[in-house]
């Protein structure tokens, strides 16, 4: 029997897709989020959990380029050169958000154009990207409606004629059609009935896996986190109190707050 020395862990990929260092966001005296540092690797799905007011949505807005942090950097390695998203001009950050990133809002109304047809909502992202061939755009829009289980016959209907669950699926199609490298989701199943949630969750699970997406998902629902994420950060009062592999954090929580969260729900 040979006893091997433990080799240092070799990187599976050359570099993280997103590197976040020393992120702080204050609202006057109050902490929005503080001292957040982590790497996200291609294909990895990170969950951010915590109660209302824990800072998880603030953190997501800072990461997604929506809310400028007071300190720290968010480095994105999507192209040839790593990009510090808050040191580039506004215009470049906006372009990045439209092309390489996607944001799924909790309320589909924040992510959709309610007075534009379903097909238009999906096709618009392709036009942003520079696609000009109308027939191809409509064909891809139709393909994506089908993938999110919206009947093709609804392509010319406005989102306000859709149910909440359908609106959320349409928003997901609108985000994913442009093939983003990184997707941010804020409570993607919040506000939906439980049966509608299950369908959406399964859809998200399959899409994330098949597309090899990297994603950051904010949720207060630990069952959603268990189903969709690889690793978790648990936030309390603006700080990350525990992080690690999702099933390890949920099944063997070490921090008092995580133990409280996991013991407060039944059967996650």
């Amino acid at each position: 029997m040979t006893v091997h020395a433990t080799f240092p862990e070799a990187a599976l990929e050359p570099a993280p897709l997103l590197s976040v260092a020393g992120l702080n966001r204050f609202y006057g005296e109050r902490i929005g989020c503080a001292d957040v540092t982590f790497d996200l690797w291609p294909g990895e799905v990170l969950g951010i959990v915590g109660e209302s007011g824990s800072g998880k949505s603030t953190l997501l807005r800072c990461l997604a380029g929506i809310d400028r942090p007071d300190e720290g950097e968010v480095l994105f390695r999507g192209g040839a050169e790593p990009l510090d998203i808050y040191s580039v001009p506004e215009q470049e950050r906006r372009r990045l958000m439209r092309t390489a990133w996607g944001i799924v809002h909790q309320n589909p109304r924040d992510g959709l154009r309610m007075d534009v047809s379903a097909g238009g909502n999906v096709g618009e992202r392709l036009m942003d990207r520079g696609d000009r061939h109308y027939g191809q755009i409509r064909e891809r829009a139709l393909d994506w409606l089908t993938r999110v289980e919206i009947a093709g016959s609804r392509i010319d209907d406005r989102p306000r004629q859709f149910s909440g669950g359908m609106q959320q699926r349409l928003q997901i199609a609108r985000v994913l059609v442009s093939e983003p490298r990184l997707v941010f989701m804020d409570e993607p199943t919040g506000g939906l009935d439980v049966s509608v949630q299950a369908r959406l969750l399964d859809l998200l699970r399959v899409l994330v896996r098949d597309l090899g997406l990297a994603a950051i998902i904010v949720t207060h629902d630990l069952a959603v986190a268990r189903l969709l994420t690889d690793r978790l950060m648990v936030m309390k009062d603006g700080r990350v109190v525990e992080q690690g592999l999702t099933d390890q954090v949920l099944d063997d929580p070490h921090h008092a707050y995580t133990q409280l969260l996991t013991s407060a729900v039944l059967g996650v």
């Binding site: 091997h4 599976l12 990895e44 299950a198 969750l201 690793r231 592999l245 099944d251 013991s263």
Partner: protein
């Protein structure tokens, strides 16, 4: 022989912060190794920490101290200190966990559940389907159930789906927790055969089996973990 698992100085104490900081020591200074082709059966009374140890080997529980080197892609990696994506890669390619419970995912068919590990390891859809069908048939799961999601299945049926998924492409290391708990004698025999076949093909097995007859047919070696009980 190839060492697949090397456990050194592993200790586990649960600290319950919301119950007055109560400390529950489980074990201390656990040392053992498992070779390819071995079936190590964990022994010890209920509550001795057998399941906790199995979960620690899988990276699901975090030990208070110690290292666990898992031989993954030909080299040992400490699963205790590995980052999440490395642990997930180890599980995908090297380390399987067979529990008595199936975690049901809404809307996913039985056949897809069983095919999934093969597809994740790069098998063609045709090969994966063929192997999955053969495994479900071997575990006597009626063919009319294969296209259904197992949410409404009985406990024994769900357990067989879980076993089919685990043994359709046996991992180099298989951690097994009470796989036969709600199975009838015929299906129990199938599980014992599946374990023996995986072992013959070189898998290292670590398991917990309450059924004494099953235990004796499976084990090549026993480890009584009561010996590691904290004094």
């Amino acid at each position: 022989m190839t060492t697949m698992i090397q456990v050194e100085n592993v200790a586990k104490t649960f600290t319950l912060h919301n119950q007055g900081g109560a400390r529950l020591p489980v074990f201390d200074d656990v040392n053992f190794s498992v070779e390819a082709g071995e079936a190590l059966v964990l022994a010890g009374a209920s509550g001795a920490g057998k399941s906790s140890l199995l979960r620690i080997l899988y990276g699901n529980y975090k030990p208070t101290a110690g290292t666990i080197r898992i031989t993954h892609a030909g080299r040992p990696i400490d699963i205790v200190s590995a980052v999440p994506r490395t642990v997930l890669d180890i599980r995908r390619r090297t380390l399987g966990f067979v529990s008595q419970f199936l975690r049901v995912i809404p809307r996913v068919s039985t056949l897809d559940i069983v095919r999934d590990p093969l597809l994740a390891r790069g098998a063609s859809p045709e090969t994966a389907t063929e192997k999955a069908r053969a495994m479900l048939a071997r575990l006597n799961l009626p063919e009319r159930l294969w296209s259904l999601a197992p949410a409404t299945f009985s406990g024994g049926e769900q357990q067989r789906v879980n076993i089919a998924r685990s043994f359709v492409d046996p991992s180099a290391i298989m951690l097994i927790d009470e796989p036969t708990a709600s199975l009838d004698a015929a299906n129990r025999d199938v599980v014992v055969e599946l374990i023996a076949e995986a072992r013959a093909a070189g898998s290292a097995i670590v398991g917990i089996f309450h059924d004494e007859a099953v235990r004796e047919r499976v084990a090549t070696r026993y480890l009584d973990i009561t010996a590691f009980r904290k004094a």
